[in-house]
């Protein structure tokens, strides 16, 4: 008579234990890369689970790709730009954007059409017409003006450049501004400044927030009360007038690097409070957990208890909130520089570029000066989507 395999002693027991419940109920089941290896969810470390959940959100993944592309441009601005961003040319004011064309009579050749300038006798303004007869040929990885990669290696190779480096023609993908400076190159260099200010300010405020929030949550008592009052005070200040006042307080004869540094500090000083509150509330609840008490009783020093046991629970949350805070800082810097209080020329950031487009006359004459605003929107949008995806993936309560 046949006996079921579990009771038949001659049938070896199955090598893999069946999962305790139907695998279809587990929310991460569809994420496992290799369907046969169902065991992997049980041994996967937390970051792998988060990564699988993150991959599920196609929009977040796409946004991350875009953010990485923007970051690449920010790290190698010299390579992507076509002209020295500070070089002004009085003969080339307010040239409209010149479109890049790819096919010349069937073969793959890059070119832009030249523009001829005609001075309008009534307004004395230069008006530019595209000359469809004359083509300026470009090539990839061309030689152009010298620059330094990451400040170390000097080179002359740019992504786009003239096919004939000796000629003195110029081309402007995004046009020029009122001083004849190439807007494409300025946008690229501005990317580097705006992104790095956002990153540095967020790092500073994150460190401040973790330290003060951690101290507040871990020790409690009077220290907690003092820090809490301080946080409340800072949070009830209206941000914009305070920013204006602080940035107006910067002496106008400071160098570009000094103002850069000062802006970073100012932005960070107002931004740390939210993270501090979250860290504090987490720590307050974690303090009483069994494993923390056990660690303390085993003789672990306080630093070890905090960093080895309590902090890891916050890592994913911190990463998500850092990613969401960077766009806020980018917008803040942009608007401060736009008002003339943040970075000032000759520094180049998106805000400084947008300052050229501050009034109706500029926009009416040269609407392409608004393109840095598009850069801001795209960057902020993609970083927000990426941050939302990270936050949803790392939040254990949303599944």
């Amino acid at each position: 008579m046949s006996v079921s395999p579990e009771l038949n002693p001659s049938v070896p027991p199955p090598e893999v234990d069946p999962p305790p419940y139907d695998i279809e109920d587990v929310s991460v089941a569809p994420l496992i890369p290799d369907e046969d290896d169902v065991q992997s969810i049980y041994v996967a470390p937390n970051w792998k689970l988060i990564w699988w959940r993150f991959k599920k959100h196609k929009l977040a993944v796409f946004s991350t790709v875009v953010v990485l592309m923007i970051a690449t441009v920010a790290m190698f601005p010299g390579f992507f730009s076509t002209q020295d961003p500070n070089e002004s040319d009085a003969k080339e004011l307010f040239i409209p954007p010149q479109r890049l064309h790819f096919f010349d009579d069937g073969s793959l050749k890059l070119y832009v059409y030249a523009v001829d300038g005609v001075r309008n006798p009534e307004t004395l303004r230069m008006e530019w017409q595209t000359n469809y007869e004359e083509k300026i040929y470009l090539q990839l990885f061309a030689r152009g003006y010298p620059y330094e990669v990451l400040g170390l290696i000097e080179t002359e190779i740019h992504l786009f450049g003239l096919a004939d480096p000796e000629s003195d023609e110029t081309f402007h993908f995004l046009g020029t501004d009122r001083l004849g400076r190439d807007q494409w190159s300025r946008l690229i260099y501005g990317t580097r400044t705006s992104l790095s200010i956002g990153l540095v300010a967020v790092i500073i405020s994150t460190i401040l927030g973790i330290i003060l929030g951690g101290l507040s949550g871990y020790y409690g008592g009077t220290l907690d009360m003092i820090i809490q009052r301080l946080i409340e005070l800072l949070q009830s200040l209206p941000a914009i007038p305070i920013w204006l006042a602080l940035t107006a307080a910067m002496p106008r004869d400071w160098s570009v690097e000094q103002t850069y540094f000062a802006i970073t500090i100012i932005l960070a000083l107002i931004g740390w409070t939210t993270l501090a509150r979250e860290v504090r509330s987490r720590f307050l609840s974690l303090r009483e957990e069994d494993y923390v008490v056990a660690a303390k009783l085993s003789g672990a020093k306080e630093a070890r208890v905090v960093f080895r046991h309590m902090m890891p629970t916050m890592y994913s949350h911190i990463i998500a909130s850092v990613t969401l805070a960077i766009p806020v800082m980018i917008i803040s810097e942009t608007f401060l520089s736009f008002l003339g209080l943040g970075l000032r020329p000759p520094a180049i950031s998106w805000g400084v570029l947008l300052q050229e487009a501050q009034n109706l006359q500029s926009i009416a004459l040269a609407p392409w000066l608004l393109i840095p605003g598009l850069a801001v929107v795209i960057t902020v949008l993609t970083m927000n989507l990426m941050g939302d995806g990270l936050r949803d993936a790392s939040d254990p309560y949303s599944h």
Binding site: I240, L244, A249, L354, I363, A364
Partner: protein, 327 residues
């Protein structure tokens, strides 16, 4: 409940004093003072001023005294209602900001009404018709709204209005009404110009508010009492509006208090771009020229509004949600 309110009201003056010190220190922080800026301006325009006059100016405005003495004098004047004298405009500050404050508040209130009138229906429709085309388009609009800085919206709308409609939308009044006394025509002119700043300022808040409204309403719509009402035969829209919406709106109402300072500070950028005669651009200019009485007064007003706003917000929250009171 009343104990909570009394506690907060008592803290109010203390908070204002701390903030005023903060504001004063920040205003004073740039090296030099109004006189140095004045001298620089004179030098730039070609005239000059001799040392005796400089000393006389300093003495007249009390600029050479230690900071705490200046602060004390300034505070004691504010408390009696005298906001001081603007060095830059050479006019009493009360006169300068009087009309501007009124315009700022009007703009703020209009924006507030616009934001709510738009956001609540959008939120309701998004929730009731979840995942429909309407919902997705609102979501996209919301994401873009949050990503675009306010001044970008201002610049873009200004450009569109100018290039497509040939309308120059700067300022709050047409040229003939700028300094005119108040009349019906002036009010009408004001309303005609008010719509663009109102839309710009409102769009940002609308996006956020609609999102929250949608999330809240979605939570409510899944509750059993909604199914019960449907089973009993209530028409869909009537039942949605009568019960879940009222519950979903509660948390939003408590955020009203935050709106006041937000709208006033947010309008600084838009006002600068559109050249509106509100408080924002005046603050900017006074900060740059170090007209410390004017700047200090305006910052004080902002801080005051912020504190009042927070207070209203907290009181509303405590009133609506009993859990908060058990602090």
């Amino acid at each position: 409940m009343s104990q909570y309110i009394i506690k907060r009201l008592l803290l109010l003056p203390l908070l204002l004093v701390i903030f005023s010190i903060f504001a004063f220190v920040i205003i004073q922080a740039p090296p030099g003072d109004f006189v140095t800026t004045y001298i620089a301006d004179l030098a730039a325009s070609g005239s000059s001023i001799d040392q005796a006059q400089i000393d006389a100016l300093r003495d007249r405005y009390g600029l050479d005294q230690p900071m705490y003495v200046q602060y004390y004098k300034w505070m004691s004047r504010i408390v009696t209602g005298d906001l001081g004298f603007s060095l830059d405009w050479q006019k009493p500050i009360k006169e300068l900001i009087g009309e501007r404050i009124m315009l700022t508040i009007m703009l703020g209130l209009f924006t507030f009404a616009f934001t709510w009138a738009l956001a609540v229906p959008i939120g309701i429709i998004s929730a009731v018709k979840q995942y429909s085309f309407l919902d997705y388009s609102f979501t996209v609009f919301n994401y873009f709204g949050v990503a675009t800085p306010t001044f970008m919206t201002a610049l873009i709308l200004m450009w569109i209005a100018f290039s497509k409609f040939g309308v120059s939308v700067t300022g709050l009044f047409s040229p003939e009404y700028i300094d005119a006394p108040w009349s019906i025509e002036r009010v009408q002119d004001l309303l005609r110009h008010m719509w663009l700043p109102m839309v710009i300022l409102g769009l940002d808040g609308t996006a956020r508010l609609a999102r929250i409204m949608r999330a809240n309403l979605l939570d409510e719509l899944n509750k059993p009492y909604v199914e019960m009402a449907r089973a009993k035969g209530m028409s869909e829209w009537r039942l949605v509006l009568k019960y879940p919406v009222r519950l979903a709106i509660n948390p939003l109402v408590s955020t009203i208090g935050w709106y006041l300072p937000l709208i006033f500070s947010g309008s600084v950028i838009v006002a600068t771009v559109l050249n509106l005669p509100t408080i924002g651009p005046m603050l900017l200019r006074s900060l740059i020229s170090q007209d410390m009485f004017l700047a200090g007064s305006i910052v004080m007003i902002y801080l005051f509004l912020a504190v009042i706003g927070t207070l209203i917000s907290d009181i509303l929250l405590a009133w609506l949600d009993p859990r908060i009171r058990m602090d």
